[in-house]
């Protein structure tokens, strides 16, 4: 029973990882940029909600901050990152790395390195009883559901809407996309906007269930990255699966020995890299 519990918890944590990873995956898929500050942006969102919730209402804060994150992503992409894309792989990496350092240190300055969490009244502590020995936390369940929903939403957007089709076209061939009237600078902005929106949701949900601090960005990035690689590059559903696999691996590892949780996740990542580098659900379509 204790293993079933571990499995279940891992599954639900995986939803959080998938949520965080989906933004990273989308941005890379569209522009080949890895946003090294992705994790830091999610932590930033958690801190912003903390501040706003402190002034007024939690849910109001969440609803307000998420569009702010999207707008932040859009403007950073259009003002700074777009220019660097044409300069090769290194420039966007350096710029996003610089973002990471700036965000961490600004947060450190404003909030200090103390850990804290977002108070949620009953949501954070409620759970649903499955059997006598298995309980599922409401918040993790909600997080998982949102993770699946967001993946579905992004999938729907990309496959069935005019804007999503344009995004995929731009990802294939940005110069050719201009031939049909697509402004690829705008599309790139949208992609990062969506990416940071997703990162924001992940950060806020994370902040509701755990203690967080300004320096957690990098480890969040690493988990998101591992989820993407385990699941398979270019595949949104792969990223969801990858997140779940990572979550389960960490949970089972922690069950064996609390110190081995994160390491087990790393081991699974290395194994995938060695045995099946294309990931569990690699992208089928040709390029």
């Amino acid at each position: 029973m204790v293993w079933t519990n571990a499995l279940l918890q891992g599954l639900l944590t995986g939803g959080l990882y998938a949520l965080l990873a989906s933004g990273l995956s989308l941005v890379f898929g569209v522009m080949r940029i890895v946003n090294l500050a992705h994790g830091d942006f999610s932590i930033l969102a958690a801190f912003l909600v903390l501040t706003v919730a402190g002034q007024s209402n939690l849910w109001l804060g969440t609803i307000a901050i998420l569009p702010v994150m999207a707008l932040l992503g859009y403007s950073l992409q259009r003002s700074l990152l777009n220019k660097s894309i044409s300069m090769g792989v290194l420039s966007p990496l350096l710029i996003t790395f610089a973002f990471s350092i700036i965000i961490q240190n600004v947060l450190l300055k404003v909030f200090s390195s103390d850990t804290r969490s977002i108070q949620t009244d009953s949501l954070g502590s409620s759970s649903i009883k499955i059997t006598d020995s298995i309980y599922i936390g409401l918040l993790p369940l909600l997080t998982f559901a949102i993770g699946v929903l967001l993946t579905l939403a992004i999938h729907f957007y990309l496959m069935r809407t005019r804007g999503g089709r344009a995004m995929r076209a731009t990802s294939d061939d940005p110069t050719a996309a201009e031939l049909v009237g697509i402004n690829n600078r705008h599309i790139y902005g949208l992609a990062t906007g969506i990416g940071l929106f997703a990162a924001g949701i992940a950060g806020i949900l994370f902040g509701m269930r755990t203690q967080f601090s300004p320096s957690l960005g990098p480890i969040a990035l690493i988990f998101a990255f591992e989820a993407v690689i385990i699941g398979g590059l270019g595949s949104l559903w792969g990223t969801l699966l990858g997140g779940i696999v990572l979550g389960v691996a960490q949970s089972i590892g922690a069950q064996i020995n609390p110190a081995y949780g994160v390491l087990t996740g790393h081991i699974v990542f290395i194994l995938i890299l060695l045995i099946r580098p294309q990931g569990l659900l690699p992208k089928q379509r040709g390029k």
Binding site: F28, R32, I33, V34, L36, L80, K83, S84, M87, V89, L90, S91, P92, L93, L94, I95, F97, A98, F99, I101, I102, N105, V106, L108, K109, P218, L221, I222, F225, E226, V228, I229, L233, V262, L263, H266, F269, I270, L273, L274, P277
Partner: protein, 330 residues
């Protein structure tokens, strides 16, 4: 009138005696300057080493990594293992630490080369984190708390600092000279081709993967040596410090701001960073924020770095380029 292709230009011919004089001056530092200056110089030399190595990897090898701190850490711990635990002297310990790091880089390269581009960059970072997690499992290496370097236990402070200074200077010179010679070698030519267009290089018969692996391993040795030097200076190795991603941040900053793909760039960048760090160190978090903003502006405004900005890509102090010169026959 015919045209000749030479490796050196008027400027590089002029620069060599200047280098000679600078080197002489640097060797005289221990006898002329205070200990605190020597310590600062060691910091600068280490910066030059890691920047030159990162530049070789990214600028010439085309491999952008955010995880090279893995090799700095391995080098530092290897030095500790060889001197503390195996009783070796400093110099053999340093050399072996570098070699060991290079050796470890071989299997790691097979792992990490499965990733490309931006994901390769983070992948190396993840590897660094994993290596750190593995190293702290060993109590003999101090576990999570770190370990002290014992090899200088019987040495006086002044002699120790002078020794480490000279060691660092020699390592830096060896690294710069090796990099220079590498770039003039067949491997260097292959690397330049790969940097320009890896696919095209492949069709010309360049074994791209083998060349990249060679650079990856050579560069790891350089990072290992740097790690060993850091251990020898601080006399203590702590996992969170020695495997810190901040090293990558510094390397990247120096190379991009100084000038990617040139040998002069990283040197210039290291000097600039060294001064910035010195001046702004007391401001704590703000200094890092300023550095970050500086890096962003630098990338957008001067993509070829300071060296590129100053020389407009026309000058090369180290004769690694091909220069077409018009010379009269006879």
């Amino acid at each position: 009138m015919s045209t000749l292709i030479k490796r050196s230009s008027k400027v590089s011919n002029f620069a060599i005696p200047i280098f000679g004089l600078t080197l002489l001056a640097l060797f005289l530092v221990p006898s002329t300057l205070d200990m605190s200056y020597q310590v600062k110089f060691v910091d600068l030399f280490v910066l030059i080493i890691i920047a030159t190595m990162w530049n070789l990897l990214a600028g010439f090898g085309g491999l952008v990594s955010v995880g090279q701190q893995a090799f700095i850490g391995i080098g530092a711990y290897a030095l500790v293992a060889f001197t503390n635990l195996r009783g070796l002297e400093v110099i053999p310990g340093l050399i072996l630490a570098a070699l060991f790091t290079g050796l470890l880089a071989i299997p790691l390269s097979f792992l990490v080369f499965r990733l490309k581009g931006g994901y390769f960059a983070i992948g190396t970072w993840v590897i660094a984190e994993i290596i750190k997690l593995i190293v702290v499992q060993f109590q003999s290496l101090g576990g999570g708390a770190g370990i002290s370097v014992a090899v200088f236990a019987d040495t006086e402070r002044e002699s120790r600092i002078r020794f480490v200074y000279l060691a660092a200077l020699v390592v830096a010179i060896v690294i710069l000279v090796s990099t220079f010679l590498l770039m003039r070698s067949r491997l260097g030519l292959a690397l330049t081709a790969i940097r320009d267009d890896a696919t095209a290089a492949g069709t010309l018969g360049v074994n791209v993967t083998a060349a990249q692996r060679a650079v990856f391993v050579l560069v790891a040795m350089g990072f290992g040596a740097a790690g060993a030097l850091i251990a020898l200076t601080n006399l203590r190795v702590q996992p969170d410090d020695i495997f810190s991603v901040n090293y990558s941040a510094i390397m990247i900053f120096i190379v991009v701001v100084g000038g990617l793909g040139t040998i002069e760039g990283p040197i210039l960048g290291a000097i600039l960073f060294f001064f910035l760090q010195d001046q702004l160190r007391d401001y704590g978090s703000i200094y890092l924020i300023i550095l970050g903003a500086f890096a962003i502006i630098s990338v957008l405004v001067a993509p070829r770095g300071l060296w590129g900005l100053i020389t407009r890509d026309k000058v090369s102090l180290f004769p690694t380029r091909y220069v077409v010169s018009k010379k009269r026959e006879g």
